[in-house]
Symmetry: C2
DNA sequence: TTGTAGGCGTTATCAC
DNA sequence: GTGATAACGCCTACAA
């Protein structure tokens, strides 16, 4: 079933059928009605391949999600979906694992999907500096800082990770915590990890607390199991930590389980803080203290910035959306 | 940059370039080398649209995921990815929400991606009966029973939900539980819900326990919040339940939180069982008792069955993979 | 308002 | 082995 069949069926030409199916003007009501009916009846859908092959520009907004099991991005995509539904645009979501090069993928998909713009959910500075100049449509980097990169078509929305983490640590200190450990990722390969790490160090140093990365920092994967292992590694240091900051909620949940298994109560014996503000944090026992990223705001602002980019061709914007510290049951003052 | 440019650059024709880029025979080593080098140098990639438009059959295996936030399917897709990586095939994953018609989507994508076969992760009998005859490639319905449907190209792998749930309930009863409530979804619109519900009823009836659906069954969404609301609704019935069976782990986690908030301890005051065997169940407090679906086996068998379908053109198979009851900290004998 | 025809980037079928 | 060339299904001038 192709556009030709519909044309034959209705007696109109492929041109008219195409115009109707694309909601274009210059078609009589009669033709529109007949063609839509025929299409409906046979369940006809335009072939996206042919469409995109021919089109110079689609109505697509491309969303590149780096890290397919990142639940924060999951919520973000949902949020984006509902917002885009109310616009004339269409969302094309592409998932990739944490280790793929998001920019090269974007170059490839740009050529194929001919998107109006691209939303990067996660991304590394290194990849952008290397290849982003091959992309010419407006883009927004979401949850990472894109300022300071020399690109005229790259905006960004993100929360100030470093600042948020600094506040977390300082709050913990003000509540009497002196021995604070950290569970995070690889600071050499993740900008996010690096920012959050810097925030920790800044706060600890400002308060004259000693911190030995080799002893007090656990470098693990961003997962439940990673958090579990991280906490066990820290316990093995026999440092009597009073608090652990985890760079992701999933890590925090794994850590809480490990601590519990080793006979420690959270928060009575040790406090735990996460990062992201995942929905599940509200449901676990104890409720998780966390830095909550404003998914709503991230979705709204990134879309607005992208639209401004391709609708009015305006200059890139770099914007911080505030993160919110949420102190829940997993933390206790000493 | 197109295949033509590569042809011009290397002095060969588009035909030869195409053959090289598709690893086809009848190309001299010299040509192959020159063309691959040129492609490499410019980072050239074939345009998928043009490719799929022209191809009669791709090397794609299409995976249709119904319910994009279903974490069980998330693990399944990961499992499938790693397994397919070792084959000459390629996975194309398409996510859709719980309320879309998976079969119509499959018809559309079939036409476009020209897949060798399709894996349905989740699906409803109703949609299949209505439109599946429009699909002619081999398919496997995963986690739902596809037997009893009159299609020569539809296999299925699933766990015996009804049986598993029956065992759960009977085990609870044997441990002294008499007042058992259930949190689940909409039995009219979800085959899975219906199966699990039937299993409950069968076990309860067989043991002479009374069960009033209006009072003892909470129909909510498959989410943390759904489980929370479900548990609250049940508590409002003032029935002194000793155990709650939830049709999904996410529901169970929400329920545990609600029970805790209402001053009940799990499992001391009330036992909770989930379904799915999500990784996180191992990390929450208390560790969740659940019916663990064998993701490995589901992935392995569904792929094998699909390959058998399009490689040897054999008849559909319907197979049950055993689910495993995992009794953890969230359950206690009375 | 409608029809016609060329071409998007590839694959596939021929000849050579 | 290699090179033309006709599709694939659609969009888009342009002509009618």
């Amino acid at each position: 079933m192709t556009i030709k069949d519909i044309a034959a069926q209705t007696g109109y030409s492929v041109g008219t059928v195409s115009r109707v199916l694309n909601n274009q003007p210059n078609v009589s009501e009669k033709a529109r009605k007949a063609i839509l009916e025929a299409a409906e009846a046979s369940g006809f859908q335009l072939n996206t391949n042919a469409q995109q092959l021919k089109q110079v520009r689609s109505q697509n907004i491309l969303v590149l999600v780096k890290g397919s099991s990142n639940q924060l991005f999951g919520s973000l995509v949902e949020e984006l979906q509902t917002r885009v539904a109310a616009t004339p645009y269409h969302l094309v979501v592409d998932y990739m694992d944490e280790y793929s090069n998001e920019v090269l993928r974007a170059v490839q998909l740009s050529r194929e999907k001919k998107p109006l713009g691209i939303l990067f959910l996660g991304g590394n500075r290194k990849s952008f500096l290397a290849d982003f100049d091959r992309i010419d449509v407006p883009c927004v980097l979401v949850t990472n800082d894109g300022s300071g990169m020399p690109f005229g078509n790259l905006s960004s929305v993100f929360c100030d990770d470093e600042q948020a983490v600094r506040e977390v640590i300082e709050q913990l200190i003000s509540w009497g915590h002196q021995r604070i450990a950290i569970i995070g990722g690889d600071r050499d390969n993740s900008d996010t990890t690096r920012c959050r790490y810097d925030g920790c160090i800044a706060a600890l140093e400002a308060n004259g607390l000693e911190f030995d990365p080799l002893r007090d920092y656990a470098n693990v994967r961003f997962s439940y199991a990673g958090g579990y292992k991280g906490a066990e590694a820290l316990l093995a240091q026999k440092q009597e930590y009073t608090a652990i900051f985890c760079m992701a909620d999933v890590m925090a949940m794994g850590a809480i389980r490990a601590l519990t298994d080793h006979g420690l109560r959270v928060p009575e014996d040790i406090s735990v803080v996460g990062f992201d503000g995942l929905p599940i944090g509200e449901f676990i026992i104890p409720r998780l203290s966390t830095v909550s990223q404003d998914v709503q705001a991230l979705a709204q602002r990134s879309l607005e910035m992208l639209r401004k980019g391709f609708e009015t061709h305006s200059d890139p914007i770099h914007e911080i959306v505030p993160a919110q510290l949420q102190w829940k049951e997993s933390v206790k003052a000493i």
